[in-house]
Every structure is written in structure tokens, then in C-alpha cells.
Amino acid sequence: MSIAETKPERADGWNRPPVTAPDGDGELLEVSMGPHHPSTHGVFRMDVTLDGERVVRLKPGFGYLHRNHEKIAEGAAYLASMPYTDRLDYFCSLTNNWAYALAVEKLAGQEVPERAQYIRVLLAELTRIQNHASSIGFLAQEMGASGTPLMYAFREREKILDLFESLTGSRMMCNYMRFGGCRVDVSSDWLDATSKVVAALPEFADEFEALLTSNEILMARCQGVGVLKPDLAVNAGVSGPMLRASGVNYDIRKVDHYGIYDRFKFRVPLGDHGDIYDRYMVRVLEMRESIAIVAQAVRDIPAGPIMDAKAKIRGFRPKPGEAYGRIEGPKGELGFYLISDGGPNPYRYRVRPPSLINLTVLEDMCLGHNVADAVLILGSVDIVLGEVDR
């Protein structure tokens, strides 16, 4: 790769001042990590400029997985976009469903029956558990842990995905929620199976923590690395566990009171340092809170219909207007903004993807750290490229 000493303005719009080696005699090395580098998540590219092994500039490159989701949705019926939302963040299709359904319900003024609300909370929290577990697994993988934490996470995820499959018919692409309710009713067998799986989860979380939390190598790699200051996090619009790891108490479940989250007792864990270790711990603790929410939901779920009686599948045309529906997704604030002109398809359809917006602070977190840490910091952001590129 080329050596950058005084770089001219680059044609690709990257117009930061040229970076020179601080001491003048060192040479800068540009390394392109990804999109086919073994450590990148999906097809993400980091153009890293290195002074020795220290990152002096990092330019993220994405769009390799762009599928024109928003424009396609503007040309399709409202319902036809629901299966596509599964494919945004393919780890958490159910929360994506919920956010989209929430936006459309606001637009059309539909009510969601009690039972369907409980089912949604149940599924969203199960999704959160499996997402956090596997994201920690991936983080450990990034650290070179030869797959053990990841396999443990996937073992439990498998059980949760079995629940999803038996309810929605698919493991990852659930396509389950509908405007005004849910597609299939849960059976009592399914609830029993869920409470069984959930009862085993705290033990899994304990095992997971025994393996990782007090591991000296993990601490050495994670503590004090990739610090995100709270004010920068707020200014950059970062949300989700990343924001809370920086110490900002902002959880949309508590702020927006969407769904029926007010009925559940749960706490929001907050970190004080904003480094990778805090992000890891906030995820672990959130997992435990989610387990408690699922247990409450299974206990309290009422009988009743699961679909709004007025909802119709064919010929759905909401009245003109606009709506923004957002939820606390496992990765952060996931929002859908819709404008209706009264037609069968939305006039404007926009996704606020938490992965992408959390990724914007990547360079700020990486500067001054080692390349190896850059990989780790990227892992701690917890992105899914399907959502970043859309």
C-alpha cells in the first residue's frame, strides 16, 4: 500500500486534513481491512491508516450489502415490506417486525389486543437475549477465543430459535407480527416450552460469566479500550447498550412506554467507563433483565384475541399522514418513519438503523489504539451489515 506523508485531497470525498506521522520520521501504512478480511463482520471495510500499529485514521466503508430496502418498500404494499424487515438485522427479525408494525399501527390508528402485546414483549425479549449472547460470543471470537463462548451462545440461541420456529415457522426470518396484532396464536404448550427454556437461561448466563467476566486476558483486552464519552455518544445519536455503557440512562422501553412495558418490573444497567468491557457487561446484565421480563410475561399473559378485529390483510390503505414508530431494539433505537398518501403503499419509508448510527463513532473510539483493538471495538459495537447497508 501507499505511504502517506502529505496526501492530496482524496477524490472519494474523504476530506479530513492529511494525516502525517506525529514524529515526522515514521511511515504511515494504509491497511484495508475487509470486506474480505477474516475479522470483519459481514462485508464491512475499514480503511485504517496506521502509525506502527497505532490507528491514526479509520475510514469505514459500507454499502456492499445495499439492497435498496427503503425504495423497494415504497413500491410495495405495506404488508409486503414486513418480510423484508426480517432481513434488516437478521439476528433480531422479531424486534424489526415490531418496530415496523408499531409505525404502521400509528399511521392507521390500529389497536393491538392485550394478548398480542404480551406475545410481542415475550418475543422481543427472547430476541434480545439471543442477540446479546451471540454478540458477546462474536466479541470473544474477535479476541481469538477459538469459538468456545460463541458456541455456548449459539447453543442457547438454538433453543430460543426452536421456540421461534415452532411459533412463527421460521428460525430467523420470522415475519410474525401483523398490523394490529400477531399472525399465529401461541399455544399453552409453547408457553410451557418457553418457561422451560427461560428457566435454564440464568444458569447459562452464570456459566457464560464464569468463562469470561473475570478472565484476565479479556479484562486486559477490554478495559480502558475504545472509550466512548457520554457527551459524544449523545451527540452522535448512539443508542442501545452502547449508550448505556457510557452511562447515559436512556432506554426507549422506559422513555416511550411503548407496548405494555410499563407493566413489567425491570432495571436498566448502566456502565461508568464506556469501554468495551462496560459494553460487554451491560449486555450480560441486560440479558438477565430480559430473562426476568420473559418470565413475567409468561406468567401474566391473558387470554383473548391476537388480532385487531378491524385489521384487514388485503386492500390495506391507511389514511394520509405520517408516523414514526420506534422501539428499543437489541442494538439500539430502531425506528421506522412512514408517510402515507392514502395509497396501498407508503409514500415515504425510512429506517433508522441503530447499527449504522452506532457505527458512526467507530473512528473516534479507535483513534490511538492498536489495530487489534480496532477489530475488537468494531465487535463491541455489535453491528449487522444487513441493517447498516439496508
Binding site: 468456545t148 486476558i217 483486552r221 432495571r267 462496560d278 457487561m281
Partner: protein, 396 residues
């Protein structure tokens, strides 16, 4: 020693076999034949062990991760290495266009040759050292030092950034930890009073009642063995010190550009190095081929040696299944700020042990010094920033 003739035969079976085979040759050729047969045995046994280990490693790791591991080729997947070997053989040998072909070709060969040489001095059983030389330990380290050059050759000749960086990391790491490796072995040399590996084993092959006098059962021995284990892990590029091939940064390190059989040779070289270094560790600290209890001496000595080596290999695999990888600067800090000073201290303690004479006092003094040093150095010596468990607050 009250061993029956049958057990003596079992113990010496390989020696007897060798002599019997050499007996067919004229007397002048017998010494040469002895050497050739010994070399053939080593060249046959350790690659076979390597093949078995690869499948055991994958299965063991799999079980630790709640997977089954390879189970498709042959019963319990035992023929997996054969399939892998065939695959490696028939794969295209890709050499980068701008690579230095001669050096690129020589690198895996020199690596494997140097590693094979290490086995020459290891006493694998009673009377079973191929060459019982006076400076055996030094020979071992000389050979293991020359593997670094092969690593460099591989990394440089590939003309790949990742290869070169991987090679430089590997060499820096190997040199740093080699110092520790040598110093921790010197403790043993100080006590045994010899560089001759057979002598070191003979020193440990004594029993008080049932219990053997292995060096690992002394305070300085535990410390030295621990440091030796850390250094050996780093020296063989195993997790958590597998930075040279840390795939999250360097793709595959110095053998990124190797494919087919040359890659298999690197793989073989790495595992052979693991066997060799475990073998040396067993010889130095775990009593070599001597049995763990006197009454167990009926079992042939070579069985004990290989059992101990495989135990060490299992620990390697176990550690690999558990821990993440360190960062380069942390690795170096660990070597120079913790492992090396502690090993030096252990040398001093060993000298103390040597000159305090028999008695219980030296046990207490040496244990206290080492334990205190370990705790203190672990707490203050290593940490640049505050590191430790944290507590978290909750918002309702």
C-alpha cells in the same frame, strides 16, 4: 527395584527390537544401523502422533464447545487426518507470483528438519534417547532457536504484508519467550548439575516411599514449570499467545501464502514443536519416563513418557478452548515485566534451595518467597491501568 523379567522386556522392547534388526547386519555397520533405525522410529512415530493429535484436538475442542467434532471419516472420525493428508497432497501448490521461490520452498523444509532434530536428545524411555549427548539441553535449545529463521524465511519470501508482519511478530515473541524457556530450565540444570537429559531424568527417578522426586514437587520446580509452560505455549504459538497467526488481524500470519503440502508441513512442524517442547518439559519437571508411583514401575517407561506428553498436549488444547488472545504489546509486557523477572527470582530461589541443605526450613522459605512474589508481581508489576472486576449501577 523388583521388576519381573517380563516387564523389563516390555520396558526395553524397542531397544531389543533395534538390536535384533541390527543383528542381521555385519558388525561394522551395526552402530550406523542403530542410528538409522532410531531416526526411522522418530520420523514414523511423531508424525503418526501428530495425525492422531489433530483429530483429538478437534474432537476435544468440540466437546469443550458442546459440539461433536469430526465424526464422518472412519469410526469416530479417526481417519480424518488421512483424509486431510490426501487433501493437502492433491491440493494445488499456489506460490505467489512475486514470491522468492527458493526461500519460499525451503522455509517449511528447514522448519520440519530443525524440529525433528529436537527429538534426538529426548529420553523417551529407559535407555531410549537416540543421542545421549553431554550438552543435550543446549542442543535442544539450539535446534529450537533455528526454527525462528524458517519462520522468517516463510514470512519474508511470501511477499505478503500479513505474512511479513506475522513472521516479525512470531520471531519477536519466540525470542522473548525463549529467554524464559532457557532460564526456567537452568533451575533444573542447577539442581541436577548436568545438561545431560538422561542424567536429569535419572536424578528424578528416585522415590521416597512411593513418591517420586520429580522437580515439579518442589517450590522452585512448580514456579519454574509454570513459567516453562507459559513460555512453551508462547514458543509454539499456541493460544493465548497465537498472535502470529491471529486471524482477526493477520489472516494466518507467516503461512498465509502457503497451500497444499507446504502448508501441511508447517502444520506438522508446529505440532512437532509442541510434542518436542512438551517432551522436554516432561523430562525436566515431570520426571521424564519415570512412573508417578514406585509400584507403577511395572508399566514400561516409554508408556509413561508418552502419557505425560499427551497430558501436556491436552492441557494445551484445554487452554486453547478457554482463553482469548492477548494483544501484541500485552504479550511483550507479560514476557518482560512478569515472566522474566519471576523466572530470574526463581533462579535465585533455586540457588537458595541448593545451599540451604536438607530439611523443612527450605521448603517454607522458598514457598513463601515465591508465593509472595507471584501475588505482588501479579498485582502491581503488570498493571498499567486499574484493571479488575467492576460493579454496575442500575436505573429503575
Amino acid at each position: 527395584m523388583t521388576t519381573t523379567p517380563a516387564s523389563v522386556t516390555a520396558d526395553q522392547i524397542f531397544i531389543l527390537l533395534r538390536d535384533w534388526l541390527a543383528g542381521f547386519l555385519p558388525a561394522g555397520l551395526r552402530t550406523a544401523a542403530d542410528v538409522v533405525l532410531g531416526v526411522i522410529a522418530i520420523v514414523a512415530v511423531f508424525p503418526a502422533l501428530f495425525a492422531l493429535t489433530t483429530v483429538f484436538e478437534r474432537k476435544g475442542l468440540g466437546r469443550m464447545q458442546n459440539r461433536l467434532g469430526p465424526n464422518r471419516v472412519g469410526p469416530y472420525g479417526l481417519f480424518q487426518p488421512i483424509a486431510d493428508g490426501i487433501k493437502a497432497l492433491i491440493k494445488e501448490d499456489v506460490v505467489p507470483l512475486r514470491a522468492d521461490t527458493v526461500v519460499h520452498f525451503l522455509a517449511p523444509l528447514t522448519l520440519v528438519v530443525a524440529v525433528f532434530m529436537e527429538f534426538a536428545v529426548l529420553p523417551m524411555g529407559r535407555n531410549m534417547a537416540l543421542v545421549d549427548m553431554d550438552a543435550g539441553l543446549l542442543f535442544f535449545f539450539a535446534m529450537s532457536a533455528s526454527t525462528e529463521l524458517s519462520v522468517f524465511m516463510a514470512g519474508w519470501s511470501s511477499r505478503n504484508k500479513y505474512s511479513l508482519l506475522g513472521a516479525m511478530r512470531a520471531i519477536a515473541q519466540m525470542i522473548s519467550y525463549e529467554v524464559v524457556l532457557v532460564l526456567s530450565s537452568i533451575s533444573v540444570v542447577m539442581i541436577a548439575g548436568s545438561l545431560k537429559l538422561t542424567k536429569i531424568v535419572a536424578e528424578q527417578n528416585q522415590y521416597s516411599g512411593q513418591f517420586p522426586h520429580w522437580y515439579v514437587f518442589t517450590p522452585w520446580g512448580v514456579a519454574a514449570a509454570l513459567m516453562y509452560a507459559i513460555a512453551a505455549t508462547a514458543e509454539t504459538n499456541r493460544s493465548p499467545f497465537d498472535l502470529p497467526e491471529g486471524e482477526s488481524e493477520l489472516v494466518a500470519g507467516y503461512h498465509t501464502e502457503y497451500s497444499g503440502f507446504k502448508f501441511a508441513l508447517f502444520f506438522l512442524g508446529e505440532y512437532l514443536a509442541m510434542f518436542a517442547i512438551s517432551g522436554l518439559g516432561v523430562t525436566l519437571f515431570l520426571g521424564g519416563w519415570s512412573a508417578p508411583l514406585q509400584s507403577l514401575n511395572v508399566i514400561p517407561s516409554w508408556v509413561w513418557f508418552f502419557a505425560k506428553v499427551m497430558l501436556c498436549i491436552f492441557v494445551f488444547i484445554w487452554v486453547r478452548g478457554t482463553v482469548p488472545r492477548l494483544r501484541q504489546d500485552q504479550l511483550m509486557n507479560f514476557a518482560w515485566k512478569f515472566v522474566l523477572p519471576f523466572t530470574l527470582l526463581d533462579l535465585v530461589v533455586t540457588a537458595l534451595w541448593r545451599f540451604m541443605g536438607q530439611g523443612w526450613l527450605r521448603w517454607i522459605v522458598c514457598t513463601l518467597i515465591l508465593a509472595a512474589a507471584y501475588v505482588l508481581m501479579g498485582r502491581f508489576g503488570l498493571r498499567e491501568e486499574r484493571m479488575g472486576r467492576r460493579s454496575y449501577r442500575y436505573a429503575e
